[in-house]
Amino acid sequence: MSENKIIACKTHEVAPGQQKIVQLDRFSVGVFNVDGEFHALLNVCPHKGAALCEGPVCGTTAATDGRDFTYCKDKALVRCAWHGWEFDIKSGEFLVDPSIKAKTFAVSVEGEDVVVHL
């Protein structure tokens, strides 16, 4: 874990299912609250470089062998603002091809502070 730890915001500033975009050093970073857990993604999409974290936080359909539409990952993925590629907020993985990843940063909560480890 890198030594460069920066306070990104206060915990109460990002409600569950929401994101907040902050500038940390020279990085634009999206801080997300997924079910009370904080995560951080670099605000740059691995597809074409859009402001990934400005997209909606939402869910999607679970893969199936049948014809059922099971809503899953509710508020645990972000759809890129531009072309809608879906990224798992926790892992940064692109759902269609997990070898493509949005850059994630480790996050710790220290008291009221959400701290991002750049």
């Binding site: 074409k48 470089g49 400005e54 072309h83």
Partner: protein
């Protein structure tokens, strides 16, 4: 020089058109049945709905002023665009209506709104005369009505149509385009209503599936424009195909040439190979540019259609499949042509506007 040939100007509500409508059709619009909430634009909607909406999620204008301010900041200024050709948005869907008089009233109102409320905002913006092609005579009237405006650089129809665009039924439109010196462009859209199903084998089911095979009707229009001799009748006419993909073009041209060689007697008015008409008269826009894993595969195809000279840059701002100017995957030595020079050639009025700008 950077020219974006497909830049969508939204409206906050179709009611912005009301001040530009005749009382009779205004009444239609206000009191008639509508396909959506108050302010919805009257059209016979396509059967496919985009599950996330068409707009980029980072672009959320709430007012007319906002529409422009965001376009300026996130697109025009950001990429240093010299000219952007406005392609409207829902206005194109007027082509789906059975009532050609109402359709004509709607596009007339849209065109006036565009001239009055968009063009004065920024001298980088130029307009399209949107037509409702279901009545080619009314469409031709509209082209002549606005055709003298130096900032209107093309005539624009939806690619969804009642019949292939080369059909002599539509020739009054090209007559008017030729008279005004304007290219005729078609843009993806106008599916549904009175227009033919754009999907040859019957309706597809999902939006992404449908969008991926959107070239189908463009293929039909390209073949028809060439076969029906449109470019023999109007030798100065350019036909611009917007947002219909491009990698399919060589395949269709190869087939057209091969078949013509065997059966030229069907169309005695043609003097050259289909691919030669294409090179001189038809232009395609990049967005959405196909992206194979091996870029070389794409580049070979683009080369086969002389892409350096037949492609023009389009962003499709602010739609969900927007192409970023800086990550356009074309051969670097073609950039100058595709980003601006080819469009200068096709949109003759830009040459005049640019000369005037430089002189000023």
């Amino acid at each position: 020089m950077i020219i974006d040939v497909d830049c969508h100007n939204y409206w906050s509500s179709a009611e912005v058109l009301l001040p530009y409508m005749d009382p009779f059709f205004k009444d239609y619009f206000i009191r008639g049945e509508q396909p959506g909430p108050r302010g919805a634009f009257p059209h016979a909607h396509r059967p496919w709905l985009h599950p996330e909406g068409f707009k980029r999620a980072d672009i959320n204008p709430v007012s007319e002023d906002d529409n422009y301010a965001i376009m300026k900041a996130k697109h025009l200024d950001h990429y240093g665009i010299d000219y952007a050709i406005l392609t409207g948005d829902e206005a194109l869907e007027a082509s789906t209506l059975a009532n050609p008089y109402y359709a004509a009233a709607l596009v007339r109102a849209y065109n006036d709104y565009q001239v009055e409320e968009w063009l004065p905002r920024d001298d980088r913006l130029v307009g399209s005369i949107v037509i409702a092609p279901q009545d080619p005579q009314l469409a031709a009237q509209e082209i002549r009505r606005l055709g003298q405006n130096p900032r209107m650089v093309q005539v624009l129809a939806s690619h969804g149509a009642s019949r292939p665009y080369g059909d002599p039924f539509y020739h009054p439109i090209y007559e008017a385009c030729a008279e005004m010196g304007l290219p005729f462009a078609i843009h993806l859209g106008g599916q549904g209503g009175i227009n033919s199903n754009p999907i040859g084998a019957g309706p597809t089911t999902f939006f992404w599936e449908t969008h991926a095979i959107l070239p189908q009707s463009a293929m039909t229009h390209v073949a028809s424009m060439i076969a029906q001799g449109v470019f023999e009748k109007w030798p100065q006419l350019y036909f611009v195909v917007i947002e219909c993909g491009v990698a399919w073009v060589p395949s269709v041209l190869w087939r057209l040439d091969a078949n013509y060689k065997a059966l030229r007697k069907e169309t005695p008015w043609l003097k050259r190979l289909p691919s030669e008409y294409f090179k001189d008269h038809i232009r395609f826009t990049t967005q959405p540019l196909e992206r194979p894993d091996n870029l070389q595969h794409l580049w070979s195809l683009l080369e086969a259609m002389d892409g350096k000279n037949t492609l023009m840059y389009a962003s499709d701002y602010p739609h969900w499949d927007y192409d970023d100017l800086n990550s356009l995957h074309i051969p670097p030595e073609w950039r100058q042509n595709i980003l601006g020079d080819n469009a200068m050639q096709v949109f003759k009025r830009l040459q005049a506007l640019d000369a005037a700008k430089k002189a000023a």
